[in-house]
Symmetry: C2
Subunit: 247 residues, 2 copies
DNA sequence: AGCTGTCGTTGATTTATATCAACAATAACC
DNA sequence: GGTTATTGTTGATATAAATCAACGACAGCT
């Protein structure tokens, strides 16, 4: 019986936790095989954080790297006067905290209850050096993030409020079960507040609220609950999101 | 004497070209040693492109990867109705074209006369597999690009026109010769047109023009030539860029 | 040197979204 | 279970930047 994991959780998680980790398939941990996973397990520590916790303080020394295994974390950058830009939401399977700098150039806070695996930087660097597949996987993830960032720059620089909200809802659509035809009717995951949505879309909370209300009025979305919205016409919303809106 | 390089340039560049390449120190090619450079040289092809050339067509198959050795390339994304967002400018030493997707999700065009080294995708993937240092270097570069993209999201989502232009000019400052104290007076490289600047900053050409004129009027910048601007007070511009503007 | 087209500047007016303001709904707390 | 704080909605008004419009400055070309 793995006593270690029960009596000294601080010293690293037991390999068994990684083996049965239900998010392993989606995450970078999948880049290494079961044998090597033991090393990964020793290098990481599991943390559970309540909503609104600071994961990374903007400008603090970049000492750790995180892999999200449950919940949603928001990443952001701020200006001296308090204006904020949320640069992304890291959901299950995503990592955060990778940087070449000595300090983090962004902050990270939990949106809801979040579980993360934390890797300390020296250990992460050792892992990268020893397991090329791990590094390969990381490169692929960062490349994907960059592609997303470019899409968001298009949204922030050139889209109208209506187009931004439509794009956001599409981006937060829950995945369909495979082998199921693409439906027009889809659920959306919105654990964050209107403030976070506004800061992500470069708008004010009032504009976000008004725009969501308008989409509801036009029967493009439904759901009276603020954090549980349902898209009624994905194709219509896609038209709106790309500016093919004739009105 | 290396006849090959003189008589069949199409078959790859000679290793000598890489060895003496004046941009090697700044680029990913620096990740591998002289011996291995021969393989890199064989895998690449040098191209010289006039201003306004298409390097990457948005949505086309992602078959190649480029390293800029001279000039400036603009990267952008478009909406169906023609609205454009320039997501970045790739100067000497930067690469472009890395993606996990089968097609490019962005376009790339030369701003001025540009020289690039082109790598075909299968060859690049072989290089990555064989030279971990090459991959390491690439990961570092993509990570830096992501950091820059986050900074640009803050600019696009939350900064005023004045703050955007100030940030842009600071970002385009030419590097100081090392061992020289930071001066208040610095040159700026602006090979691109007002249209490109506007599309980069999420503004119109008129707003960019008016804002630059205002900064000139206020003695923060000088230079009558449109593509040759000089910053008179770097610190003042930094204040403007971060919103510590009391006016 | 004069024409032609591109690029950049400046001014007048409009407009999308921010700001200001009030209130409603929901969640948190004793 | 009622009170208080937080979060979200809706309306009225202000404003930064867009749009519309005219013109100026060059660069390339014959």
């Amino acid at each position: 019986m793995p006593l270690r994991s029960r009596f000294s959780p601080e010293a690293g998680v037991d390999i068994h936790r990684c083996l049965v980790c239900d998010t392993r398939a989606q995450s970078i941990c999948n880049a290494i095989d079961d044998k090597e996973l033991a090393i990964l397990a020793q290098a990481s520590k599991r943390l559970s954080l309540p909503p609104g916790s600071v994961v990374i303080e903007e400008g603090s020394p970049a000492v750790a790297f995180f892999n999200v295994t449950a919940g949603t974390v928001k990443l952001f950058k701020s200006l001296p006067d308090g204006r904020r830009q949320v640069t992304g939401f890291a959901d299950v399977g995503h990592f955060l905290g990778l940087t070449n700098s000595e300090t983090y150039s962004f902050g990270a806070e939990t949106v809801d209850t979040v579980r993360v695996c934390r890797f300390m930087r020296p250990q992460l660097e050792a892992l990268l050096a020893d397991y090329p597949l791990f590094e390969r996987r990381l490169l692929a993830e960062v490349t994907d993030e960059l592609t997303e960032a470019q899409e968001q720059m298009l949204l922030l620089g050139r889209k109208t409020a209506r187009e931004r909200v439509a794009s956001f809802l599409l981006g937060r659509m829950l995945p369909q079960t495979p082998r199921q035809p693409e439906t027009e009717d889809r659920m959306v995951s919105l654990p964050m507040t209107r403030v976070d949505i506004a800061d992500y879309l470069g708008l004010t909370i009032e504009t976000v609220s008004r725009t969501i209300s308008a989409l509801r009025r036009e029967q493009i979305i439904t759901g009276t609950d603020n954090h549980g919205i349902r898209i009624l016409s994905v194709s219509r919303l896609q038209e709106l999101a790309s500016g093919q809106d004739n009105r």
